[in-house]
């Protein structure tokens, strides 16, 4: 019987081990997942400056105090400057006054009824126009938007407090409340405005409108070397399945005389790039609100307008009296001319390359003297965002909220390397600044300085862009596919020494995406 006695002890010890190993294995699998899940939670209210990792881009700075907005701008010796002080001159009277009433209601577009948003009873909202140098004052009243709204002036480098980002530059305009935006229209060109509270849903639902700034001297802007007979906005927006220009589906007519030129301001308010092409030659006179230097006529090429971006086209009505067809996306077109429109033309296979379009001109700064170099590398990986598992967009390998906080000081020349290996295109939008494209995929820019605030970065592409940090504050730098932004594809550009009293989440329910 002796051989039996040691065996039970071995069996008991073995049984314990057989219990420990699987429990340990299960814990080994579950614990890291639990940690990642927990770290993805952002809590009920958090500040944009306290999330993410500070990136000083190899330039001066790096104190925790500077990043968290506890100290003021370097050299001032004062405490952090709240961005609420970054406003247009409060003593200056407004030159252009606009009153907007925002409502959440059903809208009817192209025979289709859906839930949406209106400004002054219409979507898109009214086009705001101003002359360069005028002070624009927009008073917004929230009549019925349940989750509140803001207005962001897309492409206008406004003072930070007017940027309209809920939870960063302001609290959202609550139900029944008012807010006034004031900014000087310094830049001449085509812009648009849209809500930046729950922006994915509100912009898709039509809480947006156009903003046009014309040069001093009156009259419509020129198209390079010739005056225009008509200056129209073609704001493209998809309401549900209905694609529209200025809220109307199908073709829109610009009845100019034969041989006359129209300036068509194409604004893409959707979540992805659109192709634009024409049955007769067109000239791209402005990109993202900046004039192109010595543009040439384009034939047999389509131009890409990315999400949030604008292209101003000069199109001449054919001399034979027919109308040129400027196709904007697959479903809508602008007909320039009085006569019969050209039959729909297939989208050309070749794309207009803005990298080499137009003639070079001097830049206002020297990129070789850059003091900051940042990387914005877009990818995709499994993980948790806001506690939800999935395969999410990453920035420099990290998921929201551990996204980069690009730190700069006023006066810095910044170079940013934007690359995309995520499998989908991302239209990248930087608030408050315009950047010039230096190169794409290693090929240097040779055309007119390509200034952008919304850059279409395709899968496999990389861009090197440069800008000057000349507009202090805390600025979003995010994908303008707003669904992606709501999934965490958001970073910030923050000037050292500035703080924000606002929080994302919190009692106001600020939710910029």
């Amino acid at each position: 019987m002796e051989p039996d006695q040691p065996a039970p002890a071995r069996r008991r010890g073995g049984r314990r081990l057989r219990l420990i190993i699987p429990i340990a294995s299960v814990l080994l699998v579950i614990t890291p997942l639990g940690v990642f899940w927990y770290r993805s939670l952002t809590g009920s209210a958090y500040s944009a400056v306290s999330m993410g990792d500070a990136d000083w881009g190899g330039g001066p700075g790096g104190s925790m105090a500077g990043m968290a907005g506890m100290d003021g701008p370097p050299g001032t010796g004062s405490p952090a400057v709240p961005i609420t002080t970054l406003v247009a001159d409060p003593k200056r009277p407004a030159d252009v006054r606009v009153d907007l009433v925002a409502r959440q209601q059903t809208i009817t577009v192209g025979g289709q009824t859906l839930d949406g948003y209106t400004l002054n009873g219409r979507t898109p909202g009214p086009t705001i126009t101003a002359t360069q140098g005028q002070l624009v004052e927009v008073r917004v009243h929230n009549a019925s938007v349940a989750r509140g709204l803001t207005l962001h002036w897309h492409g206008v480098d406004v003072p930070n407090a007017e940027d309209g980002v809920a939870g960063v530059t302001q609290d959202d305009i609550g139900f029944g409340q008012d807010f006034t935006y004031r900014f000087v229209a310094d830049q001449v060109g085509t812009f648009w405005y849209h809500s930046h509270q729950v922006s994915d849903a509100q912009v898709a639902g039509g809480l947006l409108g156009a903003l046009v700034v014309r040069p001093r001297g009156g009259g419509p802007g020129g198209s390079g070397d010739r005056p225009v007979a008509a200056d129209v906005v073609a704001l493209a927006h998809g309401y549900g399945a209905v694609r529209t220009l200025d809220g109307r589906p199908g073709d829109q007519r610009v009845p100019v005389a034969p041989g006359a030129t129209a300036r068509v301001r194409v604004i893409n308010t959707d979540n992805g790039p659109m192709a634009v092409w024409s049955s007769s030659p067109y000239t791209v006179v402005a990109v993202d609100g900046t004039d192109v230097h010595r543009p040439t006529a384009v034939t047999e090429r389509y131009a890409t307008v990315t999400a949030g971006g604008r292209l101003d086209l000069a199109v001449t009505a054919p001399a034979d009296g027919s109308a040129a067809r400027v196709q904007i996306g697959t479903d809508t077109a602008v007909l320039v001319g009085r006569g019969a429109p050209a039959v729909p033309v297939r989208q050309p296979s070749a794309e207009l390359d803005l990298l080499s379009y137009g003639a070079p001109a001097a830049l206002p700064f020297d990129p070789a003297r850059a003091t900051r170099h940042f990387t914005y590398s877009i990818g995709r990986r499994p993980g948790f965002v806001h506690g939800r598992p999935g395969i999410w967009w990453s920035i420099n390998g990290r998921l929201y909220p551990r996204v980069p906080m690009f730190m700069v000081r006023t006066g810095d020349v910044v170079i940013m390397d934007v690359s995309n290996h995520s499998g989908q295109v991302h239209p990248m939008h930087l608030h408050g600044h315009h950047a010039v494209v230096l190169s794409r995929n290693g090929v240097a820019a040779t055309g007119s300085p390509w200034w952008v605030d919304s850059l279409n970065v395709r899968d496999g592409e990389s861009y090197v862009i440069a800008f000057r940090a000349d507009n202090p504050g805390i600025w979003m730098d995010h994908c303008h596919n707003l669904t992606h932004a709501s999934q965490g594809m958001v970073a910030h550009l923050a000037y050292e020494g500035y703080s924000t009293p606002f929080t994302i989440g919190g009692p106001h329910g600020n939710d910029p995406e």
Partner: protein, 163 residues
Amino acid sequence: MRIVYRVLGYLIAALVAVQAAAVAYGFFSLGKYIEGGGSIDQAAMNNPNFTFPGVEGLAVHGMFGTMVVPGVALLFLIVGIITQVTTKIRGALLWSVITLVVTVVQVALGLGAHSVPQLGMLHGIVALGLFAVAFMAAHRIGRASAPTTVEAAPARSAEPVAG
């Protein structure tokens, strides 16, 4: 635990079938939409309010593929660990690991195909493999006789111990 293991294994196989059905339905719906005069570009594809009848097939395929199937496969692994220990059925853990690995490969192929569409061909074939692996893992457990150890014990105790 054997029952849970089998349910999860068959569930993964069923989800693969759901994935195939959803993407085929979505793709044919897209074709019908275009045939009917509709058009689609990147801006439309990314519009949260843009729909055509059957678009939910594509949405389901994406969502299930990145969240549901990997989640169930991970759960299958955990259950596989527990099943291996409690029932001692040979291969219970191994087959759940294989299923998870094939799932990971399948998801990676699906994501990579956005950049390199040729990977989509492999994605289609590996789906069949994943179905087979998950089905077999569950099926084996049903047929396997756990008493490999249970039979031995009575035999041992019945036999008189030789000196």
